[in-house]
């Protein structure tokens, strides 16, 4: 247990990776969005995708936590289970911090009308209309989801190397294309959008959490037989 907690400290030893870089990415994207908002004359509220930027970075951390930190964790005589649990815990701490920053950002934006620009980066009505804690949870799950996707992809890559990794990527893309094609064939798009809207922020967060758990579980099973 103690060793697992130390994995969290191991992941945080280099504060750059989990703290400063995501913060810089976030602040940078936010400032740019704010500049853009202030340059564009506003008719109604505007929404930016700047909040996505640090989320993508979570996918990169997820893959690096595996490709580079896993071999080092092995050199530190850690078990794969200790490494896995500790890394997820480190990601959860980061995701929680990120969600808190987003929620506070959203609160500030709604109090100041987007800092006077009427442009919003964090305050997305779809997320915040069900309550602040739902928004926080949604941000948290999304950040974790990105991390786990990166982590999961990297486990596949480390365990099976190039060909299988490529095959998995192609497989997923094919599945998505076939899914979209089927939906189009059955003229089901309106129903799909309706279903998504019916779920609401909380419902979709729940589905994302389910997918997250599945991916996390499958990366653990893959990692158990991975070699550094």
């Amino acid at each position: 247990m103690n060793r697992t907690l130390n994995v969290v400290r191991l992941q945080f030893v280099n504060k750059q990776t989990f703290l400063w870089i995501p913060l810089i990415v976030l602040v940078g994207a936010f400032v740019i969005a704010l500049l853009v908002f202030s340059l564009i004359p506003a008719d109604g509220p505007m929404y930016s995708g700047a909040a996505q930027a640090p989320l993508w970075y979570f996918a990169i951390i997820g893959s690096q936590a595996l490709t580079l930190t896993f071999p080092f964790a092995q050199a530190m005589s850690l078990t794969r289970r200790e490494f896995y649990l500790g890394s997820l815990a480190a990601a959860a701490i980061s995701a929680a911090a990120m969600a808190t920053v987003f929620t506070i950002g959203a609160a500030l934006e709604s109090a100041t009308d987007g800092f006077g620009t009427n442009g919003y980066t964090f305050q997305l009505p779809f997320l915040t209309e069900e309550g602040w804690w739902v928004a926080w949870l949604a941000y948290f799950v999304i950040a974790m989801f990105f991390f786990v996707v990166g982590f999961w992809g990297a486990t596949i890559y480390v365990r099976f190397r190039g060909v299988v990794f490529a095959a998995v990527l192609v497989g997923i893309t094919l599945l998505a294309v076939v899914g979209a094609w089927l939906i189009s064939r059955m003229d089901a798009w309106p129903r799909v959008w309706q279903w998504l809207a019916d779920q609401g922020a909380l419902g979709l967060t729940g589905w994302a959490a389910l997918l997250l758990v599945l991916l996390a579980g499958s990366s653990f099973l893959t990692l158990r037989r991975a070699t550094p």
């Binding site: 280099n14 930190t69 850690l78």
Partner: protein, 301 residues
């Protein structure tokens, strides 16, 4: 003597190649082992399976009587310093040593600090910008300062200059004298390490060719040099590891100890004898393996 590691009938197959071929051995507590062999002989594979970083195709490994796989109790007593260790992105030596302090229960921070000074390791430069020798120094410092009960060094000296290698050997011996532990040193610079080894394991093509105390190995082979006819007559019935001739003089390396009778015979026939270093012996043994059908039992005698 206590067995700290027991390996029986361990094999590892990568596709068509057999990296380890029915390896059985035991490692004793508080002993310095040399794991000697050519590149690709199976040294790294063996050590990574012993530390549960890699998986055996068949056979068993017991460390302190237990399977090391996913076994924190056993793993925390071992440290494996890889030749090509990867470090987290943007990590510096300072980060690496700080992490090691978290996980090795016998970690000695003062020793680590002294070694950093001696190796002149820049602590704030990122590891990916270090020279090959500085990279090796990070591993060497972690391996020594961890004071793990079983420490594996896999070719730890790549890129280290002669001075730095000597620092490593001296520090290893000094620290080992005060804190005895089991050390496995894989190396192909055999002459450099032969005096610090207590026990020698020679591996070639995944097979253990020799598993013997260093004292026994010394004098296990002799080179005899003299008139061709006389040398040929003397080596009849002995195993010749190597033979070369220049004009009428022949030099032959023979396996097995010489007794007093042999020495008298050699002196009478005007044949000189020369000692065979551990390095030469390993070279000859592995060369023999590549020309003759392997006979590991014989080599172990």
């Amino acid at each position: 003597m206590t067995h700290v590691i027991e390996v029986s009938h361990l094999s590892k197959r990568y596709g068509d190649t057999l990296a380890l071929d029915d390896v059985s051995l035991t490692l004793e507590q508080d002993t310095i082992y040399g794991l000697l062999g050519r590149n690709g002989a199976g040294k790294t594979t063996l050590m990574s399976i012993l530390t549960a970083q890699n998986f055996a195709t068949s056979g068993t490994v017991r460390v302190y009587g237990e399977d090391p796989y996913e076994n924190a109790r056993v793993l925390s007593r071992m440290c494996f310093v890889r030749e090509s260790q990867k470090y987290p992105e943007d990590a510096t030596p300072r980060h690496a040593l700080r992490s090691a302090r978290l996980f090795f229960p016998h970690w000695d921070d003062d020793l680590a600090g002294e070694l950093v000074e001696e190796f002149r390791l820049p602590m704030k430069r990122t590891i990916k910008k270090l020279s090959r020798g500085q990279l090796s120094a990070v591993g060497v410092i972690i391996g020594l300062a961890s004071r793990a009960e079983i420490t594996f060094f896999d070719e730890p000296y790549l890129g280290l200059d002669a001075v730095a290698r000597q620092i490593f050997y001296d520090r290893l011996l000094a620290d080992y004298a005060e804190h005895p532990r089991t050390i496995v040193l894989s190396s192909h610079l055999i002459d450099e390490v032969s005096n610090i080894l207590e026990h020698v394991l020679v591996i070639d093509r995944g097979r253990i060719l020799m598993d013997a105390p260093t004292d026994e190995v010394r004098g296990l082979a002799t080179t005899v040099v003299g008139p061709g006819d006389a040398v040929e007559e003397f080596v009849v019935g002995r195993e010749v590891l190597h033979r070369e001739s220049l004009g009428r003089v022949t030099s032959a390396t023979i396996l097995g100890r010489l007794d007093d009778d042999d020495r008298a015979r050699l002196a009478a026939a005007g044949i000189d004898t020369g000692a065979v270093s551990l390095q030469q012996l390993v070279v000859r043994l592995t060369q023999r393996q590549s020309t003759v059908e392997p006979q590991p039992e014989e080599a172990r005698r």
